[in-house]
């Protein structure tokens, strides 16, 4: 149902620009652009994951920061035990290898999403929004009161996780690794969205009763989508903690869930690349406006208001309309 990936030229063009970006940034004298792009990529993964349940599945989760933060804390906690050379709960050794922390993140965030999803999906509508928020807030207060892991001050990760053969302290290397991960992620997401599973998910959003009449177990489909989405957000959290070299309760706060939602709506709900565009737009807006004026939130507010009131479908739709094509 999503045709955006079927424009191979456009996609190839974007990819070439993304690959060339660090060189362009250095040439233009703005090397920090690479880091900004890394941040946008990470948020893009998180927002696209959220979009799977929110846009395709019609489940408005206001608690995705829970998985994002869990991803970050998996990296942080394992790193702390690695440096202190002791065991987590006396069982699990710490590590600083991305090839270990990444699967660990997916496991932990997937399990958390299964648990939270299984309970939350018993409700719907506004109640679903609020119960997902409730679970995320509980996690927030848990991390704030975890003194061993820094509490409110957060966990400093002095060295980012390592990948064999690569210098993960180099910002360009990090960017390319993350770009590769993002590419794989979006490819998988594209396969999921266009699979039978994806079609059922959209069908459930449009008419749950009809799908149930067809004999499809709605609850299980939704839960599966929620778990995949949670794992995606966890992945983004893992990358963010490695990028910031820091994990803090700030990653789990409800405003982070709100920001992810804003990115999705800003870019375009229910489109494959909309959330990535939204994430990029949001991070760039934040950075540019903040360097422009200390009252940058005023500008951001008005821009968001404009987008939601007048674009009908976010930036993606705006582009499509300017290009004279239907979204």
């Amino acid at each position: 149902m999503d045709k955006s990936i079927n424009k191979p030229f456009l996609l190839a063009g974007v990819l070439i620009v993304l690959v060339a970006l660090p060189f362009l940034a250095n040439a233009a004298g703005y090397p920090a652009l690479t880091s900004l792009a890394t941040r946008a990529l990470i948020y893009g993964i998180a927002a696209a994951s959220l979009n799977l349940v929110l846009g395709y599945g019609g489940m408005v989760s206001f608690g995705h920061a829970a998985f994002f933060g869990l991803g970050g804390y998996v990296v942080g906690i394992l790193y702390q035990h690695y440096t202190q050379d002791d065991m987590l709960l006396g069982l699990i050794p710490g590590t600083n290898q991305l090839l270990v922390t990444l699967p660990a993140t997916l496991l932990v965030s997937g399990l958390a999403a299964a648990l939270i999803g299984a309970l939350s999906l018993r409700t719907g509508g506004v109640q679903f929004i609020m119960i997902t928020l409730a679970f995320a807030q509980m996690l927030f207060f848990l991390f704030v009161s975890l003194k061993t892991y820094g509490g409110d001050d957060g966990l400093i990760i002095r060295r980012a996780n390592e990948l064999p053969g690569l210098n993960m302290r180099d910002k360009q290397t990090i960017y390319y690794v993350y770009l590769a991960i993002a590419a794989i992620f979006f490819f998988l997401l594209w396969r999921i969205v266009n699979s039978r599973f994806g079609n059922v998910l959209v069908g459930l959003r449009q008419n749950e009763r009809r799908m149930a009449a067809l004999g499809l177990p709605a609850y299980r489909y939704k839960l599966a989508a929620f778990v995949i989405s949670g794992m995606g957000a966890g992945l983004a959290g893992c990358l963010m903690a490695n990028f910031l070299r820091f994990a803090s309760p700030d990653m789990v706060h409800w405003t982070k869930s709100g920001e992810l939602m804003v990115m999705v709506v800003l870019g375009g709900v229910g489109t494959l690349f909309g959330p990535l565009i939204g994430a990029a737009a949001y991070t760039i807006l934040e950075a540019v406006l903040a360097s422009w004026t200390e009252y940058w939130q005023l500008g951001l507010g008005f821009i968001l208001l404009f987008v939601v009131l007048y674009t009908h479908g976010g930036i993606q739709a705006l582009f499509a309309r300017i290009g004279g094509r239907r979204p």
Partner: protein, 304 residues
């Protein structure tokens, strides 16, 4: 025993404040289907308007009407300029638009009043404490808040059950389409309800002035708690909001008051304190999760 009663009163007072905010939010939610994140901003505007006028005139009681007028006006303007365009949109667009409004309101208030918290002096008429029972003294101002809150609840009850507007509100929260189909001037009804909700939020804001710090961001702090109240009570139900507010106020206060000392019987002091504080912060969310798992639409959902 008097300590327990005092804590109960504290819970009641907190609950009543929550009710003033939740009543408006649940009506807007229930009747117009709008998730209004900026409801907390109206509370902040009420507090700022009240604090400003009280400081200029030297009278807290002149600050109260100023706060009510400012909150209702801003609320009505917000409905007219922004929220009106969102009725037919889905929840996501509403969340984004009202999130944008929070940013705008916070920054405008910063520009107008500066970054420093404002000072509201306690009206001398309500200063001090009274002895309710032997051994139980309680601040007059907090008793006044409880009284005002209960009066507002009574007023809302009469408004909704005894007047024509109330009839429409009741009908609207049960079946929105039907009211529209009956040829009622829905636009008018919506503006009135929105203005009323804003007015109550402004009242909560100005009453909070002498107790709390009047500062930017005070609305977001209480917004999420208010949403929890609305959802526990059942979206669109004033009765539900009332019961849930008091329940939440009392549960929250009691957890903070008694949980750490109860835990101290089973574990070491400092661990008990930290864990107790952690659990009592989570308390209201736990309560909401439990209520929703048993009654997915809340306690008093109008259309269940």
């Amino acid at each position: 025993m008097s300590l327990f009663l005092e804590q109960l009163l504290n819970g009641l007072q907190f609950g009543v404040m929550l009710f003033l905010l939740a009543a408006g939010l649940t009506l807007i939610f229930g009747i117009m289907g709008v998730i209004n994140l900026a409801h907390g901003s109206i509370y902040m505007i009420g507090a700022y308007a009240g604090a400003y006028v009280a400081a200029q005139t030297g009278s807290f009681f002149l600050g109260v009407p100023a706060a009510l007028v400012a909150a209702a006006l801003v609320g009505a303007a917000m409905e007219f300029l922004v929220v009106r365009r969102l009725y037919k949109r889905d929840h996501l667009d509403q969340v984004l638009a009202t999130f944008a409004l929070i940013l705008i309101f916070n920054q405008v208030v910063t520009l107008l009043f500066g970054r420093q918290p404002l000072f509201v002096s306690m009206p001398s008429l309500l200063d001090g404490a009274v002895e309710l029972l032997p051994g139980l003294t309680y601040p007059i101002y907090r008793l006044a808040i409880i009284l005002v809150g209960l009066l507002v609840a009574l007023g809302l009850y009469l408004l909704i059950n005894r007047t024509r507007i109330g009839m429409l509100v009741r009908a609207g929260s049960t079946n929105r389409e039907m009211v529209r189909a009956l040829g009622v001037n829905v636009g008018m009804l919506y503006t009135i309800v929105f203005g009323l909700g804003a007015l109550l939020a402004g009242l909560a804001g100005v009453m909070a002035g002498p107790i709390l710090a009047v500062q930017v961001g005070m609305g977001e702090q209480i917004l999420i708690t208010t949403f929890v109240v609305v959802v526990i009570g059942g979206v669109g139900s004033i009765r539900g909001a009332f019961v849930a507010s008091l329940l939440l106020g009392v549960v929250d206060t009691m957890l903070r008051a008694y949980l750490p000392s109860m835990l101290r019987h089973v574990m070491i002091g400092s661990d008990a304190d930290a864990l107790g504080a952690g659990i009592s912060s989570m308390g209201i969310y736990l309560l909401m999760a439990v209520v929703l798992l048993i009654r997915p639409k809340g306690l008093f959902a109008p259309n269940s």
